[in-house]
Symmetry: C2
Subunit: 362 residues, 2 copies
């Protein structure tokens, strides 16, 4: 039974009926070219097969699949952009291969199983928008055993950052405005600038140490329940002396063939650092050679994407020393009111002092 | 009797309670430094005098006035940022000089006449927001005969522009998206990109010929009625062969001493081009030497400001030849529903074909 369509879902779909959001995604060449590359790399799993594109938008991924020989593509789109996707399919003479279905995937009527599910479901901080739930629904209902899911795996990372320029620009600015002391604005300025998560582009130089994994998602096995609330403990050791301004979050997704992974090996989060994690996982994991594995990364050290990074800033920076430990816990919970929103509960301890920051991504 | 405060007014004031909008205005150095320069230049009219600042925001202009010796400044602000303005005044030990009044100027109780009214009331396309009406209200109620208004005069300009890069990026993009023909998006793309006025920065190179004046405002004599609907006929002669993509609008304001102008000499719009206009006005006008006249310009050939320019794009460009005439009429009308919105009715004729574009600045 499909989950009910709330007024928030309707508003969410409505937001994707505007062309600008699709233009932004299409013009994100890192995103679009990586998907194209992954589709070409998996041609043998797609050619002659039945594909489902969950949230097809303008239909670009469906068309990429058709072009590598998909026998049939169910392109499902809940927003009104589906009308344009239909026209694009027709104009490109792909109506025999691609069937655009205008509606929620949860309400779709598809009378056969599919070999491949493809979807670009990732939101800010990976989980914002909660669209992965729709992919899970489609997987459980229509994916054949041994079928392919693209992307196959996703990781959400976090790392402590320093960003004095940003703090100066938004906060210190008020201390001297054309010679006037506007420090009276500081409480309001901190609230306006840093109460909510900030989507912005940072660089590798802002990052104080290796990131840790907040959540590893195996798209073949992940459940809706497991996404309702995600908690991770972390422990960083700062690689430099700097003011700690907050934490950045980003993600990457991998496009692996079906059943590359023996199971949930990588799912147990063990509180180790990114480098430990990589070492461990490289040992236990049958990873394709790195030149074969297609990865879409939104990390600060990689080329910028429209996802940028998401930063939780503190109201006041904390000075950390080199090798000082920054430890705590973060919990991301789907908002009870609107499951597409993300409540973020962040605990952080530095130098014997602990803090809590609550924020909402809306 | 004050005009009633509509729900649109309340929403408008609410928008100015957010700090970001004030930060943007303060960080616009062209804007803020020009006001400061004008205040310093008019020190002899301000020192020892009573000033009213209509819509004081963070209080910066009031403080500039206090610093050049204003005896008293009534700093009137309808939005909740007035609370912070009060604190800033107190923190700078200016409470004896500056009285922050939280409320609409139309509802203010001020028991004396003022020597100077200063205000930063200009919106996009000069008239958007309709805040000038509040300055007029204050002028008619409190300004002493012979008093000073800063700025004293404002001009709204328009000019035909070419902007192929912008058109390619927003429209032609859809003709070939990663090898896919998405021309089916074109009607929606044109609507999304160009139905409403676009606030963006263009350069002098985009402008096809000299601008014309749509509206000249003498702040000493302008009436509320005259702002309800503004009409101008125009006739441009393109200085080059190029695709005509639309019209850009921008404004400048001048900070003259009181009664520099003998009357409404410059108010009669006579359909002449910008260059003719300047020649005429320079003849009839007692203009201070240009190094004395402080002007805040938002023209494409001048340094960018947060107002940028406002562009009305056509859905399809029109090829114009060098020396070809572009003629028509533009009418800017306060929306009946929400007087802070601007209805724009644009008629344009090129090469014997005439068109009409209706849009709303909201």
């Amino acid at each position: 039974h499909p989950p009910k369509c709330t007024e928030y879902d309707t508003a969410y779909f409505q937001s994707y009926s505007h062309l600008g959001i699709h233009e932004e995604m299409l013009k994100d060449q890192v995103r679009t070219e990586t998907y194209r590359k992954a589709i070409i790399q998996h041609q043998k799993y797609i050619s002659g097969k039945v594909v489902m594109d969950v949230g097809c938008g303008t239909g670009i991924l469906s068309i990429f699949c058709a072009r590598v020989g998909a026998r049939k593509v169910y392109a499902v789109e809940a927003s009104d952009i589906a009308a344009q996707a239909s026209e694009v399919v027709r104009a490109n003479n792909l109506s025999d291969q691609i069937i655009v279905l205008h509606g929620r995937v949860e309400d779709a009527v598809i009378e056969e199983k599919v070999d491949v599910i493809i979807s670009e479901w990732m939101g800010y901080m990976l989980l914002y928008e909660s669209m992965l739930s729709s992919v899970i629904f489609a997987r459980d209902r229509w994916l054949k055993p041994g079928g392919l899911i693209l992307p196959s795996h996703a990781s959400l990372y976090m790392a402590p950052i320093t960003h004095s320029d940003r703090y100066h620009e938004s906060i210190d600015f008020w201390r001297d405005v054309y010679g006037i002391d506007m420090s009276a604005m500081l409480p309001l300025a901190k609230q306006c600038a840093f109460e909510e998560p900030s989507v912005e582009t940072i660089t590798g130089e802002n990052v104080l140490t290796w990131p840790c994994v907040v959540k590893y998602v195996d798209c073949y096995t992940v459940t809706v329940e497991e996404l309702e609330s995600v908690t991770a403990q972390y422990k960083f050791t700062s690689m430099m002396r700097a003011p700690l301004h907050g934490f950045a979050f980003w993600f990457d997704v991998e496009f692996n063939g079906p059943m590359t992974f023996p199971g949930k090996d990588r799912m147990q989060y063990n509180g180790s650092s990114y480098s430990d994690f990589q070492t461990n996982s490289n040992q236990s994991r049958k990873k394709p050679k790195s030149d074969e594995l297609v990865t879409l990364s939104t990390a600060p050290e990689d080329a910028p994407t429209h996802w940028q990074q998401t930063v939780l800033y503190f109201f006041d920076p904390i000075d950390v020393e080199q090798d000082e430990v920054i430890a705590g816990r973060v919990t991301l919970t789907q908002s009870k009111e609107n499951a597409r929103f993300l409540n973020i509960h962040l605990e952080y301890c530095v130098g014997g002092r602990c803090f809590i920051k609550e924020s909402v991504m809306r």
